[in-house]
């Protein structure tokens, strides 16, 4: 396990309360959402914030992970330290129950991300087969690079031929039965990680197979060895990363590699004079079409008296569109209901994941139409338009028509849009970041980043990610951790609803650099800006790298740094943080990030405290085996300090290893 310089920072969390202010229903710090709650105070609409309060106190057995509901002899709880009460009916002890519950979260997360990936693959496949005329290969360069990484021949070949081979590999990654690694994972790993995963037998061979196997492994009466169960979970987590790679890379091929782009965020982007359509969920396949259709249907909107069509994003669908199209981000996960409560949202088109069933209940109070589009995602009372790649544009137009029709029924008395909106710069794919760095060092662009760390100008890199979790107030932890990190000169990249929080608070803007960045970070960003005069947008305080599948971009950057430094990931001064983790996907991402060799702070306690073994493996032993470890800390200031400590630990060790290698004229030690 890593042992930090600050001796008070142990593997144990602080005593901070697990649920802050449990009776307070004002559970957000988002200024837009707060304004919204104030604006509609008298209307008495139930929101997620009320339901958090209503759920308190939450079940302590469940919270610690010692409630087993895997078979219907249960539910069983671990009630005592010794004797029959310390085990489930079948004899499963705490470490078995906790580890099984934990990895089933990973199975859920992996299934989710790979569902996203599967959808993109189907779309690409349809394109190759000539059944998806509304789509195109927007980035042939990304396709060729991807093909090379995967070992697909590119010389003198048509783009579609190459894409066909790439898609076939992607499909094989879902259902391979031979003992060969997942191609969309293996192709991107450092040599060190590849070996580690092979030796520890957690290299997945197929996404679907791994998830299924994990469910089978954790069924009643199968595996009771907590370490074996956790390794099964880690294999699934790596399959999740494979799924993310498919999602990110093929989205870039079909919709373009994100480049720096200006936009705005928070509820104030909802325009009272326009037809407002929120796209919510995670998948760009549909929403990209909606954006395209909206451009074509401006006239129809004008016919009903609107000035045009305003597409706004929520959650990761919002992030996907923000990154590539500069679409406004209305809000993020926990405040999704607020968008409807503006009274000016005409339709909410949703795909998959993180969509509260309650959006329909809230919509019932307004004219807003909620439309589901995916076969596996329906909401009682909401309309359903089945979305098909073959008829994508047609389907998208139907969705827009629903919004235009709804606009006619908008009640001006119910319209109350918060004024909160902030400018931002997003669109920082690894390609875009590399381009920026290359203006300083064209031969070794990543060395610009690693040199700045080694010279002490910046302290390292942090990937901030994850959801909202209302055990604390919405966005408070994201914002606090970020401010602490940038103040201490950490270069921060962000994804998902962490990005959403920063965007909504105006922290993703170049203006925030002066106010919040420490001197080192400030000068680093200024150096980058000075070398990139053609970049008219300026550079932000925190760099948006995409949606939650785009955490794959984050680990790509970490691996590029590892290769630049001539070490493996566990030695790179790079940390990750999910200050408000909530979804199963977050458990999967956090787990692969640890397995990839990163320290991962989680600001909401996962249900592992019921077993010291599981707690110890995740927070301590994982570091010995894989080089990464979880840091569970619900106090965001302390969480940030622990992250800084983790960066210091790595920089310290790396420096000593480099000095020692120099002194003895050897290669750098590979241990961590």
């Amino acid at each position: 396990m890593p042992r930090y310089r600050d001796l008070t920072h142990t593997a144990r969390p602080s005593d901070a309360p697990r649920v802050v202010d449990p009776k307070n229903p004002i559970r957000t710090t988002d200024p837009g959402a707060l304004q919204m709650l104030k604006l509609i105070e008298e209307r008495n609409i139930e929101t997620v914030y009320d339901r958090v309060v209503a759920q308190q106190p939450q079940c302590a057995f469940g919270y610690k992970g010692i409630c087993c509901r895997i078979c219907i002899a249960g539910p069983c709880r671990v009630k005592k330290e010794d004797g029959p009460g310390s085990r489930g009916i079948c004899g499963a002890s705490a470490f078995t129950i906790v580890s099984r519950n934990l990895v089933r979260y990973i199975a859920g997360g992996t299934a989710s991300h790979s569902e996203h990936a599967r959808h993109i693959l189907h779309t690409a496949h349809a394109l190759v087969e000539g059944h998806a005329d509304d789509y195109e290969i927007k980035s042939p360069a990304k396709l060729m690079k991807l093909a090379q990484d995967l070992g697909v021949a590119t010389l003198d070949r048509e783009e579609k031929e190459v894409l066909k081979d790439v898609v076939e590999i992607g499909y094989s990654d879902f259902g391979r039965y031979q003992d060969r690694p997942l191609a969309f994972l293996d192709a991107f790993l450092t040599e060190g990680r590849r070996r580690k995963f092979h030796h520890t037998n957690i290299m997945p061979r197929a996404i679907d197979g791994t998830v299924t196997e994990l469910l089978a492994q954790t069924a009643m009466g199968v595996d009771s060895d907590p370490v074996n169960i956790i390794f099964g979970g880690l294999k699934a987590a790596l399959a999740d990363l494979g799924g993310e790679y498919i999602g990110t890379t093929l989205s870039d091929v079909l919709f373009g590699i994100p480049e720096p782009i200006v936009s705005e965020a928070n509820l104030g982007v909802i325009n009272p004079k326009m037809v407002n359509i929120a796209v919510h969920g995670h998948n760009p396949v549909l929403s990209e079409m909606v954006v395209a259709a909206a451009r074509k249907m401006k006239a129809e909107a004008e016919k009903v008296g609107a000035e045009g069509i305003n597409i706004v994003g929520i959650c990761c669908t919002g992030n996907e569109l923000l990154m590539r199209e500069g679409v406004y981000l209305a809000t993020s996960s926990a405040s999704q209901e607020m968008a409807i409560m503006t009274g000016a949202l005409d339709a909410m088109v949703v795909d998959i994941q993180c969509i509260y069933p309650s959006v329909q209940t809230v919509a019932e109070c307004f004219h807003t139409k909620v439309v589901t589009t995916e076969a596996i995602m329906k909401i009682p009372g909401a309309q359903h338009i089945a979305f098909n790649t073959e008829t994508a544009m047609e389907d998208a137009k139907k969705l827009i028509a629903i919004a235009i029709e709804a606009y006619k029924h908008r009640d001006p008395k119910k319209v109350s849009i918060p004024s909160e909106r902030h400018k931002l710069v997003a669109g920082f794919s690894v390609e875009a970041l590399t381009e920026i760095f290359s203006k300083i060092n064209p031969d070794r662009p990543i060395s610009v980043l690693t040199d700045a760390i080694q010279s002490g100008q910046i302290k390292g890199v942090a990937l901030m990610a994850g959801c909202n979790n209302l055990k604390r107030l919405q966005d408070e932890s994201h914002i606090t951790v970020l401010k602490e990190l940038v103040k201490n000169d950490v270069f921060v990249i962000a994804t998902g609803c962490s990005s959403g929080a920063f965007a909504k608070f105006g922290l993703m803007s170049p203006l925030a650099v002066d106010t919040y960045a420490g001197e080192g970070l400030k000068s680093f960003i200024q150096t980058l800006e000075a070398a990139n005069p053609e970049l008219s947008t300026g550079l932000p305080l925190v760099f948006h790298v995409g949606s939650c599948v785009d955490n794959s971009r984050g680990i790509d950057l970490a691996m590029a740094m590892a290769n630049e430094l001539g070490v493996d990931v566990p030695k790179v001064p790079f940390v990750a943080s999910a200050p408000e983790a909530m979804h199963e996907k977050a458990v999967a991402i956090g787990s692969w990030a640890v397995t990839m060799g990163l320290p991962v702070h989680v600001g909401s306690m996962p249900p592992v405290e019921g077993s010291d073994l599981v707690y110890g493996v995740t927070t301590q032993i994982a570091h010995d085996v894989f080089g990464g470890n979880f840091i569970f800390e619900v106090d965001p200031v302390l969480g940030a300090q622990k992250l800084l400590n983790a960066l210091e630990y790595r920089t310290w060790k790396l420096k000593i290893h480099q000095k020692t290698a120099e002194k003895n004229s050897t290669a750098i030690a590979q241990g961590w």
């Binding site: 310089r5 520890t200 010291d612 110890g616 301590q620 000593i656």
Partner: protein, 726 residues
């Protein structure tokens, strides 16, 4: 007292076990066992069960397993039943008795995990990290560990509260002469503080995590190599560890389950574990798992609990001092000042003087001391040590003079090689920066001579000459004494003396081994000559070196005497009845384990070969030094194989019964160079000719019989004309 008795009383009330600690140890055990199993089964899938496995440079296979259960594992598949047996001995009931078995299982798991790391090529490490320590290192330092020249062994794992604290602990232990094993971030802390660690300093930075097992497999090999305890005698090995290896473990920094489980492995071997963490009573076991958060107290407490009593004196010099620095090399670039070595005139001389000609404890430096010369200076050097003692004899002058080499090298930043007027000394920049002067060199010699030879030495005075004229003058005198001593040495032959001497020094760890040291046969360790033994006997009349009045011989040629047989029988605990001093083939001398070199017959060439501890390569008898050492160590008579001191080759009594020097058909190049001049002279004396040395094959000719025979034939090696060996 049986091994299990030593834990009695640790748990006063068996119904009140330290549950919290035991639960974590249990959890750590499960983690280690499953991790080993996962790695093993993946490796089996990749390599198959017939895959050859093992550590580099060892004849003891996987030493933990060899020792404790006797399986000499060479193939991957053999690990499966072993790991399963160890998984199977884990009982869930939380008590101290079960916990020690969990600890044992964890030792196996770690050994298996590390073996797989080697199979995967994840090792070896880069300097100074060591990973597995090969047999040559065990043999080099192991003797001092088991005979307590090294007063104790500290295993430090984890991370100290800060780097300065880590340095303080390790400096302190090094100063006391400890052998140190390091694992995890304490290594980086020490590197940060520029503490000298690595093989050269007997402070081994093993690596991280399960690499701690390399301290364990080092310790276990001592029982096999020096204790002569057969493989698989689990209780005897544990007992040997407890009795001979004075080790303790410091587990620093935040604890984790696997480290706690590994700590229980140490307790299973009889070693206490101390931690700097504040622990409640249910996280401690009195005398075995102890919390001591005070850094000033933790080492003294560890010594106390492990029963280590230190006798060495504190030296009034500004640099660290101890065996840890014996292997330290001072490169040219690190040198502040240099003496001798052919660059300047230098000599060292010990001479016996009368009581009236000596001022006890006085150090006189003639010429400017080194604080007045610039960096990079080369100075002449004369070291004259006058000794007076009621029991002092002129014969001991040479014995004490050779001690200068050891004493000097124990100083951190002081480097000494060769002897007499060939000596070569360097003082490092670091040592100078700490204030080291040549005066301190004198202080050091006086303190150590008095400490080690109190029975002989009553007064010591040292004169250090740094002035050319003084050195030139002193050298004339010194050369006279050397000549006189050489004449005396030439007159000392096996025939000319009345007594031989025994050496039982190694019986502390090789209980049945008996060395018989004669004027013409140096002890097999190379360190005890007949004169050394005689001096040692003067120092402690009841000590390990006893005179054996020679009396009439039974067989002059083979070298058998009534008196030596009689002595041998008793001293070998009635296990050996007869010994021949001058032959390899018939009831030869036994070998303890500390031999400098090994001779073995090569029947195809009708000769014998010699390999050295330093030579790690293969030899024509099909075994490396390590494997050979494994076959003839431990106090057994093994005709055809024998451990010897290097210089025995130059003796007129070098296996005369077997034909002497002419039998040698192979030896490493390095040994040839080491002995060349004297060897050539001996060859001429024996009528073999000056070019005999070149007729002997070495590794450049080949390392198999097939490769060397044509060479021997071509060069007309005499071996083929000798009487048949067998």
């Amino acid at each position: 007292m049986s091994m299990e008795d030593i834990y009695a009383g640790a748990i006063k009330d068996p119904s009140n076990q330290p549950k919290k600690l035991l639960r974590r140890v249990y959890d750590g055990t499960i983690i280690a066992m499953t991790y080993a199993e996962i790695l093993l089964n993946r490796a089996l899938k990749d390599f198959g069960s017939e895959q050859i496995i093992g550590y580099p440079d060892t004849a003891y296979h996987l030493p933990v397993i060899t020792c404790l259960s006797g399986e000499k594992v060479t193939k991957l598949g053999e690990l499966v039943p072993i790991l399963n047996r160890m998984r199977n001995q884990i009982r869930t009931d939380l008590n101290f008795d079960n916990a020690r078995l969990w600890g044992e299982s964890v030792l196996y798991a770690a050994e298996i995990i590390e073996t797989l790391n080697y199979l995967r090529g994840e090792e070896p490490k880069v300097k100074p990290w060591t990973g597995f320590l090969g047999d040559p290192i065990v043999r080099k330092h192991g003797i001092k560990m088991v005979d307590w020249t090294i007063p104790g062994v500290a295993v430090i794992l984890g991370r100290a509260k800060d780097s300065q604290a880590a340095k303080k602990i390790v400096d302190n232990l090094m100063g006391k002469g400890f052998m140190i094993f390091l694992c995890d971030e304490v290594i980086e802390q020490l590197l940060e503080e520029n503490v000298k660690i690595g093989e050269d300093y007997i402070a081994f930075p093993l690596g991280n995590f399960t690499q701690i097992i390399h301290a364990v497999n080092y310790a276990f090999r001592a029982g096999l190599a020096f204790g002569g305890i057969p493989a698989g005698e689990r209780e005897n090995h544990r007992d040997y560890q407890r009795r001979r290896i004075r080790a303790f473990v410091l587990n620093l920094g935040e604890l984790d389950d696997v480290k706690l489980a590994a700590s229980m492995g140490a307790i299973f071997m009889g070693f206490p574990v101390l931690t700097d963490q504040v622990l409640s009573d249910d996280m401690q076991i009195p005398d075995w798992y102890i919390s001591e958060p005070d850094y000033e107290k933790i080492v003294p407490l560890a010594l106390e609990v492990r029963g280590i009593k230190l006798t060495s004196v504190e030296l009034p010099i500004p640099v660290n001092f101890g065996p840890a620095f014996e292997g330290e090399t001072i490169r040219k670039g690190d040198t502040y000042v240099e003496f001798g070595g052919g660059r300047t005139t230098a000599f060292e001389l010990v001479q016996m003087v009368g009581p009236e000609n000596i001022v006890d404890g006085q150090v006189t430096v003639i010429g400017p001391d080194i604080d007045t010369v610039p960096e990079g200076t080369k100075l002449p050097l004369g070291i004259k040590i006058d000794i007076y003692g009621r029991k002092m004899q002129a014969d001991f002058e040479g014995v004490f003079e050779r001690r200068i080499h050891y004493f000097a090298n124990y100083g951190e930043g002081v480097w000494h090689v060769a002897q007499r007027d060939l000596c070569w000394v360097r003082i490092s920049k670091d040592a100078r920066a700490k204030g080291f002067l040549m005066k301190h060199f004198g202080d050091l010699l006086i303190a150590k001579l008095k400490e080690e030879f109190p029975a002989i030495i009553d007064r010591v005075e040292v004169t250090i000459m740094l002035d050319q004229a003084a050195v030139d003058e002193g050298l004339v005198l010194a050369r006279e004494r050397y000549r006189a001593r050489d004449d005396r040495m030439r007159s000392l032959t096996d025939e000319s003396v009345e007594d031989f001497y025994s050496c039982l020094l190694c019986q502390s760890f090789a209980p049945n081994h008996v060395c018989i040291v004669t004027p013409e046969r140096v002890g097999l360790c190379g360190a005890v000559s007949w004169l050394d033994a005689k001096a040692s006997h003067e120092i402690s009349p009841n000590g390990p070196n006893q005179p054996i009045p020679k009396g009439p011989a039974i067989d002059e040629l083979k070298g058998m005497w009534h008196s030596t047989n009689e002595y041998l029988y008793k001293a070998s605990n009635n296990t050996l009845e007869e010994v021949n001093l001058y032959t390899l083939m018939d009831r030869p001398m036994t070998s303890c384990g500390c031999f400098e070199a090994i001779m073995a017959i090569v029947p195809e060439a009708n000769g014998l070969m010699i390999t050295t501890r330093e030579h790690s390569g293969m030899t024509p008898c099909g075994m490396t030094f390590s494997s050979l050492a494994g076959t003839c160590g431990g106090g057994m008579q093994t005709p055809g194989f024998m451990g010897i001191g290097r210089t025995y080759l130059l003796s007129k009594k070098f296996i005369p019964a077997d034909g002497g020097l002419a039998r040698i058909v192979w030896m490493p190049k390095e040994l040839k160079e080491f002995l060349r001049e004297d060897f050539v002279q001996r060859s001429i004396d024996e009528g073999l000719g000056a070019d005999f040395i070149d007729k002997i094959a070495d590794e450049s000719v080949g390392s198999t019989v097939e490769e060397i025979i044509p060479f021997l034939e071509e060069n007309g090696h005499p071996c083929f004309n000798l009487e048949s060996l067998m």
